[in-house]
Structure formats: structure tokens, C-alpha cells
């Protein structure tokens, strides 16, 4: 599906479709499916760690006790009992939110789409951290914004650069950031920058969209307060159960002030009427047993920590001089920066030939920069496979380096 065929309706499509093309991530999912390839590409949680018995209990309870409700339409805002549970889940990260101020979405991805739908007119400026989650760029992109790209470093988004843009008179509709173990950066926004960001945005009248899928997957160190906690009025907070339970239930949410929530609900109803009652009730029940979900989450987090360690160890051992990478304290991703002359997009075919896959850096920037970068995900393959994959990639990088030096003596 890489190329769209020309068809009889070609003159009928909306302008926004010209920006829609088969993503690099999509092509990679196909590649990564071959068993001989070690995929360090996809960000799939290791759901195999969830005990089958737990899931069976949950779905049997739903069918037995809420059978008709689970098969029926529900309201556009999402099942109240689930919103109450998810408010409890947020509270475990220190984020206080009223269930009335939440809307359940089809994963946090739909919350990004709905935010685009209610805020972005074609040509509107929005600010995004750069690199940013590719799915956020895709969701917002459908509404044809212009982008203000704010670089990240080891402390997350460089808020000074946002400030400079504000001083230049730029006023984005909102600022998008993933402050905890961001995708793809793997870095965490420092406390000082969190305070700087919220006060800067509040003063400028620019809301913040805080995307927090990975916050509960912390391997070490102390959790920092959410942006939403620092400024509840000006931050739209997005959560999801995709990484702490299952992406297959497609349950995420947005927490915002009531006037925003009401618009999100209307946009949600226009998009798909309502979420799945079945998976909403299933998710509510899963999180009703705190010992169960905390136990499973601890198991998964420990697994991800070991896999991160395996990846960082292998990178350290196999990657050539001149490569730099982030050291995530949680989440799924390591972000690698190679010497400027590398082209990770062009190199991908060779990597797949050597049976390893990654996501080229260009996927994470609206303007296609990041050609010397790549995202490596440690969430899904076992440690041994991670080490194998990184070793293969290291060999390739060495060979590329040797070739380059021979051509540029």
C-alpha cells in the first residue's frame, strides 16, 4: 500500500488527503511481521505478560453481570463507571480529575484527532516537540496546520525556544508534548522546564496538550508532577490504558475543562457515536481489582526495565563512535542520533536485509528532518533478541562508516 493508485475519483478527494501518505511506520509493521526480523520498530506492549485467567475473569463478569449493557450503545462521553475508575488511575500519578471532565476515546489517538478537529483550521499554527509522536502528527495533519517545531534535549522540550517563538509573536493554537519518557525521544521533561512551560503558556493564553501514555512505566527515579497538576486550567491531559493494560480494548481519555469536554463529546459523536460498551466495561472491571492491575503492571514494568538494560548495554557494545542515544528512565524507546551524514531512511532496506528493523527519524518531524536519527523500541522482543538485533544494527552502522570513510578520506 506504499503508492496510492490513481483512480476515477481522483478529482473528488478533499485537499487534506494530499498530506496523507502511507507512513514509514506502516511499511515497517509489514516487514516486522516476518519472524526472522528482529523488530525494534513497533511500540507494541508485551500483552503476553497479562495472565489469561485475569482476562477470562473480567470478560465472564461483564457478560454475566452487564451482558445487555455491554452489547448496547452508550453515551458519547463514555461509560461513567469507567471514567470513575480511570480518574482513580490518574490519581495514582497525582493527576486529579473529575469524571465529568473526562471523555473516553478510542485510545489516546482519537483524543488527538478530536483535539485537531475542534481546534485546528487549515493554516493554523500549532507547536509540537520535535521529534514528536508520529501518530500525533498524523492526527493533527488531517486538519492542515502549520507547525512550530520545538527541539528536545535530554531534559525534554527546550522551553526557551518556545519562549523565543512567543517573543517573536508566534501564537500557536496549542502546544503538544509527551513529557514522560516521550515517544520517540525517551526523555523526560525536567521539573524546572515543566514550571517554565506551564507559566509561559498560561501567560500567552496557549493551552498545552499533555500526552502521558508511559508515565506509569517508570524504571527508576522519582515521578515528576504532571503539567496538568501544575496548571489544571490550561492543560488538556490525555491518558490511555494501551501501555498499562491493553491496546486491543482501544480505551483512552481526555481530561479537560467542561467547555472543551463538551466540544470533544460532540466531535466524538460525529466521529463514531460512542466507544465500545463491551471493552469499556471490560476495562472498568480490570481496574476494579487494584492488587491485580498493580501486580501485572509491576511485572510488565520490570520486564521493560530489563529490556531497556539489554538494549542500552548492546548499543554501548556495538554502536560505533559518534553515535549518541538517550537513556530512558521508563517507557518503550531509545532515540539514537548518528553522525550527520547518516541517512537512516535510505539505510532501512539494508537493515531489514540484515534482519533488524527500526523507525527512521524522519517519521517524527513534520518537515522531514531527522535523517540521521532512529527510534529503537525495547518493549516487545525478549532480551536475547534485542541484543541480537542491536548487534546486527551495530554491524551495519560500522560497515556504513567504513564505506563512508573510504569515500571521504
Amino acid at each position: 500500500m506504499a503508492e496510492l493508485s490513481i483512480d476515477r475519483f481522483v478529482d473528488l478527494y478533499a485537499h487534506r488527503t494530499s498530506g496523507m501518505s502511507a507512513s514509514e511506520v506502516r511499511a515497517l509493521f509489514a516487514v516486522a511481521a516476518r519472524p526472522e526480523v528482529v523488530s525494534l520498530a513497533g511500540g507494541m506492549p508485551f500483552v503476553e505478560a497479562l495472565p489469561t485467567g485475569d482476562i477470562l475473569d473480567v470478560v465472564q463478569e461483564v457478560v454475566d453481570q452487564q451482558g445487555a449493557m455491554s452489547l448496547q450503545y452508550g453515551g458519547g462521553q463514555g461509560h461513567l463507571g469507567l471514567r470513575e475508575r480511570l480518574a482513580g488511575l490518574m490519581a495514582a500519578e497525582g493527576v486529579i480529575g473529575d469524571p465529568d471532565d473526562m471523555v473516553i476515546t478510542t485510545g489516546a489517538q482519537q483524543a488527538l484527532d478530536l483535539i485537531g478537529k475542534i481546534f485546528i483550521d487549515p493554516g493554523d499554527l500549532i507547536a509540537v516537540e520535535a521529534p514528536a509522536y508520529v501518530g500525533a502528527l498524523t492526527a493533527f495533519g488531517a486538519y492542515e496546520p502549520r507547525y512550530l517545531q520545538i527541539e528536545i534535549d535530554d531534559d525534554g522540550m527546550v522551553v526557551d525556544h518556545l519562549q523565543e517563538a512567543f517573543v517573536r509573536g508566534e501564537r500557536p493554537k496549542f502546544v503538544y508534548t509527551c513529557p514522560n519518557f516521550g515517544n520517540p525521544g525517551g526523555v523526560t521533561l525536567s521539573y524546572a522546564r515543566r514550571r517554565q512551560l506551564v507559566s509561559l503558556c498560561r501567560e500567552a493564553g496557549v493551552p498545552i496538550v499533555e500526552d502521558n501514555p508511559y508515565g506509569m512505566l517508570r524504571f527508576e527515579g522519582e515521578a515528576l508532577p504532571a503539567l496538568r497538576t501544575l496548571d489544571p486550567d490550561n492543560v488538556l491531559y490525555l491518558g490511555t490504558v494501551s501501555k498499562v493494560f491493553s491496546p486491543g480494548v482501544r480505551v483512552g481519555w481526555a481530561l479537560a475543562e467542561q467547555s472543551v469536554v463538551q466540544r470533544l463529546v460532540l466531535a466524538k459523536e460525529a466521529s463514531d457515536l460512542c466507544g465500545s460498551s463491551f471493552t469499556m466495561l471490560m476495562t472498568e472491571r480490570y481496574f476494579s481489582d487494584e492488587a491485580r492491575w498493580r501486580g501485572n503492571l509491576a511485572t510488565m514494568t520490570e520486564l521493560y526495565r530489563s529490556r531497556r538494560d539489554a538494549m542500552l548495554g548492546a548499543i554501548n557494545e556495538h554502536f560505533p563512535d559518534g553515535a549518541m542515544w538517550t537513556h530512558p528512565a521508563g517507557g518503550f524507546y531509545v532515540w539514537v542520533t548518528l553522525p550527520e551524514w547518516f541517512d537512516t531512511r535510505a539505510m532501512l532496506a539494508a537493515a531489514v536485509e540484515r534482519r533488524v528493523a527500526y523507525v527512521p527519524g524522519t517519521a517524527f518531524y513534520p518537515d522531514g528532518r531527522g535523517g540521521n536519527r532512529m527510534r529503537l523500541a525495547f518493549c516487545y522482543p525478549p532480551e536475547e533478541r534485542i541484543r541480537e538485533g542491536v548487534a546486527r544494527l551495530g554491524d551495519l552502522l560500522e560497515d556504513e562508516q567504513v564505506l563512508y570513510r573510504s569515500l571521504h578520506p
Copy 2:
């Protein structure tokens, strides 16, 4: 949630939100929830007729045999096994489609949204039958089209009127219609008009969006060929399991030519990445046992037939002279036209006071016409309640008529 509060972000919202307001249907769902009110408003299938044991079997099989897959992300096009099953379901209505040419959506509602997303630029003309499904108007409305409204009569959309519009030089991006027991009209597009519609649209280069949620809920008479069957190249066909199985699983689909499907998949990924693997596998399994689903469908269809009969009988008995109504051969709805001076929107409060609810006709027209019309749904309440509700409504209509005549002697 009827009024949106003014808020600090009021200057930041996209232009399209100005057309988003709390719908009449939404307000009614809240009202209809009170047990003393007979709701003839909502179009909820009677899922209570599905045997709990069938659902339990299905979800246990999913967890036991496809546990990890059911909890994981899937591809944007939707699970292949489910597409194959749904291709079989379509074939039962004579619609032949390749699973490769299908995309699974969150109910058919999301297919409507995605069609809006890939076809409609602000100001583009689209043609819709009038009255039309309120959810289609809401979905398309988010992309800010202009509307060409084509009236219906007892034989469905009056295709001559579309032809006249084409002769005038109007060229909509597409024509939207629900040809079988339409919502809210309850009427079925005749065979002659089906042929006229597909040849007219093919000649004009205007694709047809055929929405068919109710086709398998036929009470009597012979099924007519789908528009898609008459012209596979120029018709985008939408299906859903919401009325033949469960809306709580949120499984619908679009069948279209490959170039359209590819764009729908990209738009779907931007909107919510992928559907719920859990409910997709659950739906696939439910439809894997033909005796089971056909048996349950026959039970439900028989139930709806009896309820339709109860409703038509009660309307005939209780509604005043001058009222006209459709006689649906399937589906969920009767569409009532009252004398011109009636205002069903204004009358709704009085109806709810008399413990009966309906949907005012204005909800189903983009321009707010239809003030003397109402949609009555017979799908959910038992026959006795339907008769009660219609009797209450008949009394109200009589009283309104007496009052009107006393004021206009």
C-alpha cells in the same frame, strides 16, 4: 449539556465547531432513560434477545485461543479474518466484495466520518436524501459541506429531483442514501429508482454512498439488489453489525474500490490507529456459526415485525385525521407527517410530560425543515409499551388539534 458554556479557549476553536451543537437526539436519550417515559425516540436494537450463553461462548473462545492477539494493536484496515466473515455476511444480501476492498470501522458511523474526511473540503456540495440519518449529517457536517437535499416519498429518494439538479449543473462530491428501510423514513428505494440512480450517478461521475444497516431486518416482500450490486465501481457500500448483532462491539465497514480503501485506511489510522482487536475477534467468532447468527437474527426480526405491527395498529387507532405515516417493510422506524401547522419540536416537552418521547423531524434535515414531522422507533420497547406510548402521543395530537381549531376557527 444543551448549552455550551463560554470559556477561556473560546477564540481558539476551529470554525467547524460553530456547526456542532448538542443534538435533539442527545437531549432525548437523557429524557428517554427515565423508566416512566415510553421512548419511541432512540434506535437501540433489542440486544436482550441475544442469548447470554452465545456471547459467553464467543468471548471465552477469543480469550482462550487468541488471547494475546485480542489484547494487541492490529492493522488499520481491520482484522483479515473478520473482513472475510463480513464479506460472507454481505454476500447473504447479494453484495459481493473482496476482503481486501473493505476497511473495518467503529460502526458505520466512523465510515461516514472517514468519507467526509477524504472527500469534503469546506463549501463542497454533497447530496443527501431528505430526511437523512442524523448521524450522517453530523459526520459530514464536521467537514463543512453545502447540501443538496433530495426529497423522499414512499419509493425512497425521488431520483428525478437529483436528475434536475444535475441538469442545472450541480455536481455534488457524492450522493448519500440509505435505500433499505431508511432512517428515519422507513421507506425502501424502488427497483426502478435504484437503476435510475446508479446510471444517473455513473454518467455524472458522482459516487454513491450506500448505507445499509437495516437490509437484513426485512419483515416481508422480496429484497431488492443493492446499489453496489447494480454498479460496483461507483458505489461505496457501508455495513454494520450494530443491528444484526450488537452496537456495543462497534464494528462496521466500508466496501469500496482499492484507491478509496487506501485513503480510508490512512484516514482511519489518523483518527484512531485501529479498531478494537478484542471486539473484532469477538464479532468474527459470533458470525463463524451460521446457524447461531441466523437463528438469533430471525428471532430479533420477528420481534421487530410484531413491534412494527403494534405501532402501525396503534397509530391507525389513535392518530388524528390528517396524519400520514410510512409503512416500513423492515428496519426500526415509522416516519410521521402531520398537518403543516404542527411543530413537533415545540411539542416535545408536552409529550415527555405525558410520558412519551420521539425525535422531531427537524433533526433529519440540514436546513431545519420537517417541523411537522417525527420519527417513531419501534425497535426497543415491548409491544404493550409501544401501544401505550402511541396512545399517549395520539391523545396529545388530538388535544393540539382541538386547541389549534379553537384558535383558527
